[in-house]
C-alpha cells in the first residue's frame, strides 16, 4: 500500500474560522487533504463539523449572518480570494447533503444532468452518456436504467441519496463533500453508499462528516476529531482509532463522552 501521506495535497484549510452571527462555530482549523483519499470528520453533535464542511465549498455564506475568516486552498489557490468566482469553486467542490434532496418535479435523468445542462451542455448523447457513467459510479444504474424518466422523488431514500451523489459527480468535481450522507438511511442503504465511496475514491477526494465512528473507521483514510469548533486531532484513521494521541479523542472513540 503506498504511503497516503505522500499523496499530493489537493485541499487545504488554513486558520479557517466561521461564525453564525456572534456564535463562533469553527475556530481556526488548519489541515490538508490528500488527493484520492477519504477523509472523515467525527465529533459530538453541534461541534461545528457541518459548518466547517460547508465552509469548504462556500455554501456556509448563503446563510444570513454567516461569516468566515482564514483561507481554503484548492490546488494552491485560495477559494475565498476576492477574484475567485464562487460558482467556479462549487463546480470543483461538490456536495452531498444529510437529507436526500433530489430536485422536485424532475426525472431521474434530469436530476443527474441538470448541472451540466445548466452549464450549457445540451447534446443529448453527451448527457445520456454522463448520466450512465455517474449513475454507475453511484451504484444506482442497474436499479434505475429502465425508469430514467420517472420522478427522482419516486425513489426510496437510499436510492435518492445515491441519485444525489450521481448528480454531484456529474459536474465532475475533484473534491466531494458529504455531510452525514447516511444518517437518514437504513443499514443496507448505508452499506451501499459506503461501498460506492470506495469506488469513487479512485477518482475523487472525499471529505465526509459522520456521526458513525464505525463508518469513519471502515471507510476513511484520514480522520479528524472535532470538539466545539476545534480540531483536536487529525491523522491516519488507522492511528486515530487504534492509538489516538489525545486523551479527548480516546475518550470519544471509546464512548466515554459525546
Amino acid at each position: 500500500m503506498p504511503n497516503l501521506n505522500d499523496a499530493k495535497v489537493i485541499l487545504e484549510a488554513k486558520k479557517l474560522e466561521a461564525w453564525f452571527g456572534d456564535f463562533h462555530a469553527v475556530k481556526g482549523i488548519t489541515v490538508d487533504y490528500r488527493e484520492k483519499t477519504i477523509n472523515a470528520i467525527i465529533g459530538p453533535s453541534g461541534c461545528g463539523k457541518s459548518t466547517y464542511l460547508r465552509c469548504l465549498n462556500r455554501i456556509h455564506e448563503e446563510i444570513e449572518g454567516a461569516r468566515t475568516a482564514g483561507e481554503v486552498l484548492l490546488e494552491g489557490k485560495n477559494i475565498y480570494d476576492k477574484k475567485v468566482d464562487v460558482v467556479d469553486v462549487r463546480r470543483r467542490i461538490g456536495m452531498v447533503f444529510q437529507k436526500p434532496n433530489p430536485f422536485p418535479s424532475m426525472s431521474i435523468l434530469d436530476n443527474v444532468v441538470i448541472g451540466l445542462r445548466l452549464q450549457g451542455i445540451s447534446k443529448r448523447s453527451t448527457l445520456l452518456e454522463t448520466a450512465e457513467v455517474c449513475l454507475r459510479k453511484a451504484a444506482l444504474w442497474d436499479e434505475v436504467k429502465d425508469k430514467l424518466n420517472s420522478l427522482g422523488t419516486s425513489l426510496s431514500g437510499g436510492q435518492q441519496q445515491r441519485l444525489c451523489i450521481a448528480r454531484a459527480l456529474a459536474v465532475n468535481p475533484p473534491v466531494l463533500l458529504m455531510d452525514e450522507p447516511t444518517s437518514a438511511l437504513d443499514p443496507i442503504a448505508t452499506a451501499k453508499i459506503e461501498e460506492l465511496m470506495n469506488e469513487i475514491k479512485k477518482e475523487y477526494t472525499v471529505i465526509i462528516v459522520t456521526h458513525n465512528m464505525q463508518q469513519a473507521a471502515r471507510i476513511s483514510d484520514f480522520t479528524s476529531f472535532f470538539v466545539y469548533g476545534n480540531m483536536i486531532e487529525h491523522g491516519l484513521s488507522a492511528d486515530i482509532f487504534t492509538n489516538p494521541k489525545e486523551k479527548q479523542t480516546e475518550d470519544y472513540i471509546s464512548g466515554r463522552f459525546g
Binding site: E62, R90, K99, N101, F103, S105, S107, I114, V171
Partner: protein, 282 residues
C-alpha cells in the same frame, strides 16, 4: 342528575348553533347556483353564443361580443399581471432581506384591500383620460391591478414552500443563483404557481366595477384594444337593470355563462396541471 342533563343540553345547543351557522352559509350559495342555473340555463340558446345584441324591442340576439370581450380583456390583463406578479413573488421569496421587500409586502397587502371600483377610477384617470377614450386596454390594466396582489402573494408563498436544502443543492452544483431560481425552484413549482394565476384570473373575470369606467362596453364585436369593448359582467349589469324582459332574461343567461366560463377555466387549468405533472424526461 339535573346538572348532567343541563350540561348535555348546553352541549346540544352549541352543536345546533354551529350547525345553523354552517347551513346559513350554504343556503345562499345553493340559492345562487340554483337561481342562475334555472333562470340562466332556460334562457340559453345557441343564438346567445353566436349572435350580437338585437335592437331594443326585437326579441333574440346574444352576447357573443361580450363573451369574446371578457376573454380578450382578461387574457390581456393576465398577460400584464402574470410576468410582473411572478417576478415580484420571486423577489419577495428569494431576496426578502432588503427593506424594499418589507415595503413591498405591505403595499401588496394594502393593494388586495382596495375596492375594485377605486381601481376602476384609477385606471380611468391614468389610462382613459390621457388617451381620451374608453378602451379594452384600460380595462385590462384595471383587471391586472386586481390580479397582481393575488399573483404576488401566492407566488411568494408557493416559492417559500420549496425547502432551503433544494436551493443549497442547486448552489452546491456550481449553478448561479438565477439559474437555481429559474430552472430548479420555479420549475418545481410550476403547477402550484398556475393555481395562483388561475385564482387571480377567475377573480378578475367576474369584476364589473373596474370595467365600467375603462372598457365601458359596446353592442358590437370589436377586437381593437384602443376602443371600448364589451364584457360579460358589464353586459349582465346593463341588461339586468334594463326594463326589458328579454334583456333581463339574457342577463341570467350571461350570468350562467360567466359562471360556467370561470369553472371551465379552473378545470382546464387542472387538466394542464396533471399534464405537466405527468410530463417527464429530457
Amino acid at each position: 342528575m339535573n346538572y348532567r342533563i343541563y350540561r348535555k343540553f348546553k352541549n346540544f345547543m352549541f352543536l345546533v348553533l354551529t350547525l345553523v351557522s354552517a347551513l346559513a352559509v350554504l343556503i345562499p350559495l345553493f340559492m345562487i347556483i340554483q337561481f342562475v342555473l334555472v333562470q340562466g340555463a332556460s334562457s340559453l340558446s345557441l343564438d346567445f353564443f353566436t349572435q350580437l345584441p338585437k335592437p331594443v324591442g326585437e326579441v333574440g340576439g346574444g352576447m357573443k361580443h361580450a363573451i369574446l370581450g371578457t376573454i380578450y380583456i382578461v387574457l390581456l390583463g393576465a398577460a400584464i399581471a402574470i410576468p410582473i406578479g411572478v417576478t415580484c413573488g420571486i423577489y419577495l421569496s428569494e431576496f426578502s432581506k432588503s427593506k424594499l421587500s418589507k415595503t413591498l409586502k405591505m403595499t401588496v397587502d394594502l393593494m388586495s384591500g382596495i375596492p375594485s371600483i377605486v381601481i376602476g377610477i384609477f385606471a380611468y384617470l391614468v389610462v382613459v383620460v390621457p388617451l381620451k377614450s374608453f378602451s379594452a386596454f384600460a380595462g385590462a390594466i384595471a383587471l391586472s391591478i386586481i390580479m397582481l396582489p393575488i399573483i404576488i402573494k401566492t407566488s411568494e408563498e408557493i416559492l417559500k414552500l420549496v425547502p432551503n436544502h433544494i436551493r443549497e443543492a442547486g448552489l452546491a452544483l456550481g449553478l448561479p443563483r438565477w439559474k437555481v431560481i429559474l430552472f430548479i425552484i420555479l420549475k418545481g413549482s410550476v403547477s402550484n404557481l398556475l393555481t395562483g394565476m388561475i385564482l387571480a384570473i377567475s377573480r378578475a373575470a367576474g369584476e364589473t366595477a373596474p370595467l365600467l369606467f375603462t372598457a365601458f362596453g359596446n353592442m358590437y364585436l370589436s377586437y381593437n384594444m384602443n376602443e371600448p369593448m364589451a364584457s360579460l359582467p358589464v353586459q349582465i349589469y346593463t341588461y339586468a337593470i334594463s326594463p326589458y324582459k328579454d334583456w333581463q332574461r339574457q342577463a341570467w343567461a350571461g350570468a350562467f355563462v360567466l359562471m360556467v366560463l370561470i369553472l371551465t377555466m379552473n378545470l382546464f387549468a387542472r387538466f394542464i396541471l396533471t399534464k405537466i405533472k405527468d410530463k417527464k424526461g429530457i
